[in-house]
């Protein structure tokens, strides 16, 4: 244990001014607010009055979401469609309890080529609120340790906290088990049956060595008559395929095993 040493860095905000002569110091020029800042109803001579109101209480906490976890999880995945694969990856990872730092690292890996403003803590927090993840090892607040010294003094010493872990809940596991990317892909293709040819073209391009770029797919599809009315772009197709797990982005769009099977099926149907 060392002596407290905040003194030096804390003093950085005040510096000695040895040459300063207080008698010679002139008052700084007062800064007058502009008319717009002062407000139309400000009376002449009034001080600038930007923040005046009545005393406020602390903001009320938002009402808890009382819906069943299954419903909240489905709603979260629906609202956060672009993060779907990351959410699923977190749930898979947390089927066995994982230290929070490890989950954060896994999220970084999952989002390595898919930058997001959401980090591991944000995403896990959303899954926790939805009821898909829970923290273990943190149910009770850890108390500091009271250390008594021989001279009669006593100190609180922070204790080593039991490492918190993220673990999937029953509801989260049920959602993960029920997730069938192949079914979702079939449903999406059925919904977009008119565009099977386009989906096949996108899958084929992404199956090439090195994958495909969004620009290459846009260039290949931009003049396709099928996409003029309603106007659709390549992004619509490769995003749908990615959400169903048929494509992944790792610096280029690449086909997955599921996508390859889908492409084979679509090609067979096209030939028939």
């Amino acid at each position: 244990m060392n002596e407290l040493s905040h003194a030096t860095d804390a003093a950085d905000d005040l510096v000695l001014d040895e040459e300063f002569d207080p008698l010679a110091a002139a008052d700084p020029e007062p800064v007058e607010p502009s008319a717009a800042e002062a407000g139309a109803d400000a009376e002449e001579g009034d001080a600038f009055l930007p923040y005046v109101g009545s005393p406020d209480e602390a903001p009320a906490a938002p009402a808890p979401d009382e819906r069943p976890a299954a419903e909240r999880i489905a709603d979260l995945f629906d609202r956060m469609r672009p993060r779907r694969q990351v959410f699923l990856g977190i749930l898979r990872f947390c089927q066995t309890p994982q230290r929070i730092a490890d989950v954060d690292a896994e999220v970084e890996r999952l989002q390595e080529h898919d930058y997001s403003v959401y980090n591991g803590a944000n995403l896990c927090g959303q899954l926790e609120r939805a009821g898909a993840l829970e923290r273990t090892g943190s149910d009770e607040v850890s108390e500091p340790q009271l250390v008594e010294e021989d001279d009669g003094s006593a100190y609180w010493v922070p204790t080593e906290h039991v490492p918190e872990q993220w673990q999937i809940t029953e509801a989260g596991q049920a959602y993960l088990d029920a997730d069938a990317p192949e079914d979702r892909l079939r449903a999406k293709l059925a919904e977009d049956a008119a565009y099977e040819r386009i989906y096949l073209k996108v899958l084929t391009m992404c199956a090439a060595e090195g994958g495909a770029t969004a620009k290459a797919m846009d260039d290949a599809l931009i003049n396709d008559e099928l996409l003029q009315k309603p106007r659709l772009y390549a992004a619509y197709f490769f995003n749908n395929l990615a959400e169903c797990g048929a494509l992944v982005w790792d610096g280029a769009w690449r086909i997955t095993d599921l996508g390859r099977a889908c492409a084979d099926e679509l090609a067979a149907r096209a030939e028939a």
Binding site: M1, N2, E3, L4, S5, H6, A7, D9, A10, A11, D12, D13, L14, V15, L16, D17, E18, F20, P22, A25, D27, A47, F48, L49, P50, Y51, V52, G53, S54, P55, D56, A58, P59, I100, A101, D104, A121, S138, V141, S142, E143, P144, L146, V147, G152, S153, A154, Y155, W156, V157, P158, T159, H161, E164
Partner: protein, 234 residues
């Protein structure tokens, strides 16, 4: 690292050496509290807080409770503690409203001006005091001079000056520094900080900032009493 206990009452004769040591301890506590108010907690400070022993029996209930809350917070940190603290810092000191009652605004002017405005008389007064003590705001500091962190750091520097004077045998200079401290507490810091910490207790949600509010209350009260005893005796 070890937090210093608050100073004993000056109801018994203290040697210059004892007084210098107490002044150093007071400076360290002022610096510690000022740092917590100045900006959000960073990793270095968090590590430092985790390695600190906090006095449990200082003789002041608010100080004891404040240290206990901080120690309890540090016993429950997790991977995203810094984010939690940053969010709480904003919630507690900046707030989300625009009615001047939505946070614990850490400026003396807000609590001492009728319309709760910044940059009022209090700021001019403390600036004049800093300058009379040959101090001025660092160019890197973008907040106003009546921010509680600056006022606490002013007290820290005055404590260090008193200690340095005592260590070199200049008792007159030491007494001048102690008087400056008492006047500054009476006229400024101690006069308004309690109103701000009451708001801090209302808005902060983490034990760290709750503890800071109690620690500030208790330490300023103890220090105010210590200076009164010391100077009244003198």
């Amino acid at each position: 690292m070890e937090q210093t206990a608050t100073e004993p009452a000056a109801d018994e004769a203290l040697s210059a050496e004892d007084l210098a040591l107490i002044a150093r301890q007071r400076a360290a506590t002022y610096a510690f509290i000022a740092r917590l108010y100045r900006v959000e907690v960073d990793q270095d400070l968090l590590d430092s807080l985790a390695a600190t022993r906090y006095p449990a029996r200082t003789g002041n209930d608010d100080v004891d409770h404040g240290y206990y809350l901080i120690a309890r917070f540090m016993s429950n940190t997790w991977a995203d503690t810094l984010t939690d603290l940053a969010v709480d810092y904003v919630r507690a000191f900046i707030g989300h409203g625009n009615n001047a009652y939505s946070a614990a605004y850490p400026y003396e002017s807000v609590y001492t001006s009728e319309k709760r405005l910044m940059m009022q008389d209090a700021r001019d007064e403390v600036l004049a005091i800093y300058r009379s003590c040959h101090l001025d705001k660092s160019a890197s500091w973008k907040e106003n001079e009546d921010h509680i962190a600056v006022e606490l750091e002013f007290m820290q520097i005055m404590c260090e000056r008193a200690a340095a004077a005592l260590e070199t045998g200049d008792e007159d200079a030491a007494m001048t520094a102690f008087k400056t401290q008492r006047n500054f507490l009476d006229d400024h810091l101690y006069a308004w900080a309690g109103m701000m910490t009451a708001d801090l207790k209302k808005f902060a949600r983490t034990d760290l900032y709750q503890g800071l509010a109690y620690l500030t209350d208790g330490f300023l009260k103890t220090d105010h009493e210590f200076l009164a005893d010391l100077l009244d005796e003198a």
